[in-house]
Amino acid sequence: MVIKMVHIVPEIIKESVTNHIKNGERTDGRAFDEYRDIIVEPGVVGKAEGSARVKIGNTQIMIGAKPQLGTPFNDTPTLGVLMTNTELLPMAAPNFEAGPPDENSVELSRVTDRCIREGQVVDLEKLCVVQGEKVWMVFLDLHVLDYDGNLIDAAVLGSVAALMNTKIPTTKLEGDEIVLDYDNMIPLPINEKALMCTFAKIGGELLIDPSLEEEEIMGARLSIGMAEDGSICAMQIGGAESMTKEEILKAISIAKIKTAELRTYLP
């Protein structure tokens, strides 16, 4: 995916949206700490061992999980592997173009991957089959279908839903042979439901779940990944402006409430 042309927002629109926000109003009428409508549909793709479709407002991502046996990394011989890939499809926005992942899709993949890995969503130790030789690798493919802002929260929410929905065959070691019993599929071992909550800073205010219109004028973006106990497992700032320490601490306290709320959409 290559972004074809920087979308330049006219100054007059930028000012008008910013002024609304300074007056406490978002153009779509939401409160600053209010998500758009959320839909999570697990199990939508029959050929994927795990899948989910997630919508936050008009943003829509399809996520598929495909486990396969592979070799563990040298420095983690007893752990399964999670591989995250994102396609910002050219159908998702008029300025997305087909091509290899650009910096935006790479960042989305890596932020999602970190939140899920550091949040220990999947118990990777249980995915080890033969130490140093064979482990389950789970390929998580994020297919972005419709882009209307806040891809990060949708990506993480949908990924966790897809992983919760994923099944692998019962795997046994018999002598020198690995027996994969596809007649007895078991769910992936899920430890934790770490999720992310994203803030946009516009006109000095912090809003959660920015729409595309808001993203295009936001100064900075802050995404916070949280485990169920409210501890922090990932964080990522983005955008051309800075944030203060106080803003970050405020965002953390809001994220605690909102990730818990997001978690209710999981099955």
């Binding site: 074809k4 042309m5 939508v44 793709v45 029959g46 050929k47 994927a48 899948s51 008009n58 829509q60 399809m62 598929g64 999980a65 495909k66 396969q68 046996l69 890939n85 396609e87 499809l89 050219p90 159908m91 998702a92 926005a93 008029p94 087909a98 290899p100 033969v130 030789e133 064979k134 390929f139 493919d141 297919h143 279908l145 419709d146 882009y147 209307d148 065959p169 018999e174 020198d176 042979e177 690995i178 027996v179 994969l180 019993d181 596809y182 007649d183």
Partner: protein
């Protein structure tokens, strides 16, 4: 280290002697089309046909930035057909392969005769097809869906384009081959046509057919076109009302 797979649910070759679900030789699989399923695209459609799940989106007519493709007296219609990595049993590596490059070219040629491109000189109409789940016949499913997405985008067309494969499976000439019928069958013949006139905009074949079998297969596809076209029209009607 050997890997042993036990799986009693795998279908075996002998089961294909009768069509699944007792389908008649000229019967289509379940077909469902919905128009206007995406927000950003100018037009879009979602289609299920048997186990296939396909999404089509259209952008345009819009400015064409690649000067070397520009046509002074009409628009170009470009198509990208892509399979999601999770749409098939063994994960597909992301990005185009030779198969998808060829299908993209053929899809664009299958849709082109139906569109009044000369109304939009120097511009482009971009069609994107995403296969979300594949179960035999995705190129036809993509063309049928793309045609609805073009209509949803308000692109002026002579007619919609309908696509369906006929072929030979287990000795019989049949319509709309499923994945297993295609894989174990003797011939596959995807056809796209404009239902009103019956003009053919895509034909491909691989396998082995006598001239008579070929005629029979072609006729099956031609005769099946109206049922598919009904669903296309219904999808547009449901989106915009009568």
């Amino acid at each position: 280290m050997n890997i042993i797979i036990t799986n009693n649910n795998l279908s075996t070759g002998t089961e294909t002697s009768a069509r699944a679900n007792n389908r008649a030789f000229d019967e289509l699989r379940n077909l469902k089309i919905e128009a206007g399923v995406l927000e950003r695209a100018d037009g879009s459609a979602y289609l299920e046909m048997g186990g296939n799940k396909v999404l089509a989106a259209v952008y345009g007519p819009r400015e064409l930035f690649v000067r070397r493709l520009m046509q002074p007296n009409k628009a170009v219609l470009r198509c990208k057909y892509n399979m999601a990595p999770f749409s098939v049993d063994d994960r597909k590596r992301p990005g185009p392969d030779r198969r998808s490059v060829e299908i993209s070219k053929l899809t664009s040629e299958a849709l082109t005769p139906a569109v009044f491109l000369e109304k939009f000189p120097r511009s482009t109409i971009d069609v994107y097809i995403e296969v979300l789940e594949a179960e035999g016949g995705t190129r036809c499913a993509g063309i049928t869906a793309a045609s609805v997405a073009l209509a949803d985008a308000g692109i002026p067309m002579k007619d919609m384009v309908v696509a369906c494969a006929a072929g030979k499976s287990d000795g019989n000439v049949v319509l709309d081959l499923s994945e297993i019928e295609d894989k174990e069958g003797e011939a596959d013949l995807p056809i796209a046509l404009m239902p009103r006139t019956g003009e053919i905009t895509l034909i491909q074949m691989d396998g082995h057919l006598t001239e008579d079998e070929f005629k029979k297969a072609m006729d099956l596809a031609i005769d099946g076109r109206m049922k598919i076209n009904e669903q296309q029209k219904t999808a547009i009607k449901n989106r915009y009302g009568d």
